[in-house]
């Protein structure tokens, strides 16, 4: 369960969201896209185009040389020990077998979609019938979403309930702007919300569904609007991976020369510990991102 704290205007978290779904298309996974503000079909039309083997080296070659010429060779005074550490690899130099790269200036062609099964949940279009799920004092939009996810997992056999199904596949679930007012939750608009437990209950049940099926999920939340910080602490404990994006737009960091090459920071609040007692902690803790014409990179 990847929990993403949206940046102030949702620009970059939206991009990350689309990357997750695009990766699903390229890998042949089934998709489940849920949103209360944008129709999922529209989101899917805007996925970035994958960079295929031969073209990507050229594309990235251009980007890489541009970066090198900007490298400043100033010697560091206080942080001199860091000078000798290698820069974190930002671009693929060898052909990677894990994950793909995308060109954000182009949208994915419809042919790539044809064989992909996609399930959409667009809140305004969902019927307002009573959810079959046992009453659990949860926000009804969340309850309906959970029921929809549970139904797809069961019907499509992602939970192994259909032994006939030979081809096992993965369900990639993307839920956009959870917790926002469009989902009927007031945790983003009030510091004394009516039901402080709705989001955490939702995540707990979602976690249960993910654990019992072959699925992965990304949830984006406008965390900067949630005034009750206790909720964010609880949410972190309920998620496997928690990442926050902070964009520099409109903040004083925009003019800080330290950040002149970047558009924002990436805060990793939690790394997953699945199938192991400890997690793989990377050496680099300070991450920033930038969005160039074709690439979104994290360095």
């Amino acid at each position: 369960l990847v929990f993403t704290e949206e940046d102030k205007y949702g620009l970059y978290s939206n991009l990350l969201f689309k990357y997750f779904l695009a990766e699903g298309v390229v890998c042949g996974h089934d998709l489940f896209v849920a949103s209360a503000k944008e129709h999922p079909d529209k989101i899917l039309k805007e996925l970035p185009a994958p960079l295929l083997d031969d073209t990507y080296r050229n594309e990235l070659g251009e980007e890489a040389t541009a970066v090198k010429s900007e490298d400043f060779q100033d010697s560091m005074k206080i942080a001199w020990r860091y000078q000798n550490l290698p820069k974190m690899e930002a671009s693929p130099t060898t052909s990677t077998k894990f994950g793909h790269y995308y060109d954000v200036s182009k949208t994915m062609s419809p042919e790539l979609f044809q064989s992909i099964k996609r399930h959409c949940f667009y809140l305004p279009e969902e019927l307002t019938m009573q959810p079959k799920m046992k009453a659990c004092n949860m926000n009804s939009a969340y309850a309906r979403l959970l029921q929809s996810i549970q139904r797809i997992i069961y019907q499509e056999g992602f939970d192994g309930s259909d032994p006939q199904k030979k081809q096992k596949n993965i369900l990639r679930i993307g839920i956009q702007s959870l917790g926002s007012m469009l989902w009927g939750d007031d945790i983003c608009s009030s510091d004394t919300p009516e039901d402080i437990h709705s989001l955490t209950k939702f995540l707990y049940v979602l976690r249960g569904l993910l654990r019992k099926s072959l699925s992965a999920c990304i949830v984006t939340v406008p965390a900067h609007l949630i005034q009750n910080k206790a909720i964010m602490e609880r949410v972190t404990n309920l998620s496997d991976m928690v990442v926050g994006l902070e964009s520099f737009i409109g903040s004083e960091r925009e003019t800080n020369p330290l950040y002149k090459d970047y558009h924002g920071l990436v805060h990793v609040h939690q790394i997953p510990r699945l199938n192991s007692l400890i997690c793989d902690v990377s050496d680099t803790k300070d991450l920033a991102f930038r969005l160039k014409r074709k690439l979104f990179t994290i360095e």
Binding site: K134, C136, N137, Y204, K212, E233
Partner: protein
């Protein structure tokens, strides 16, 4: 050993423990030595289960459905696990709860959580001379007042407190944290 992992599934726990020599959760379960309450599965059964499955015993996680905010059903589960039908009560049982902080986000109150732990202590520690091991989350600048209340109260009532945290000086490659 009644083990209540609220956040991980049975199979993941099995995998994690399999790396420890001589410890096999699966074998322990088969011997009847280890009783699992898999919170996530219980919750799904409660919310998505068919009507017919709701026989006799209420779900241990009843409080999620909002019918009651107390943890009586959860305690009943613990108690019945400690006294399996047709045999003597366990000698020197250990109750493991992982983790208590999760319960607060699911609709229960700090008082209900503390009551539950109190009842467990009476049943496990006093009556059966066993031990209770509870995991909670906390941090210095936490704004989760309900959680801090639970943590402080537990600290007062505990015989041993193990506080595990990262280093105050920040991330370090060789030493991950302190106990």
């Amino acid at each position: 050993v009644p083990f209540a992992p609220f956040l991980q599934s049975c199979s993941l726990c099995d995998v994690m423990f399999s790396s420890l020599e001589g410890v096999s959760l699966t074998a322990a379960r088969e011997r009847g030595q280890l009783v699992f309450l898999e919170g996530l599965k219980s919750c799904l059964d409660l919310l998505f289960g068919e009507e017919e499955e709701q026989s006799g015993q209420p779900s241990p996680l009843q409080f999620i459905s909002g019918s009651a905010s107390d943890l009586k059903a959860l305690f009943d589960f613990v108690r019945t696990s400690l006294t399996p039908a047709g045999s003597d009560s366990w000698k020197g049982p250990v109750l493991l709860v992982d983790d208590l902080s999760v319960l607060l986000g699911l609709g229960t109150t700090p008082v209900a959580v503390l009551d539950f732990i109190h009842y467990c202590r009476v049943a496990v520690c006093s009556q059966l001379k066993g031990n209770v091991v509870v995991l909670v989350h906390s941090n210095e600048d936490s704004e989760d007042e309900e959680n801090e209340l639970v943590v402080n109260s537990l600290c007062h009532h505990s015989d041993l407190i193990l506080w595990v945290e990262g280093l105050a000086t920040g991330f370090c490659k060789d030493v991950h944290g302190q106990v």
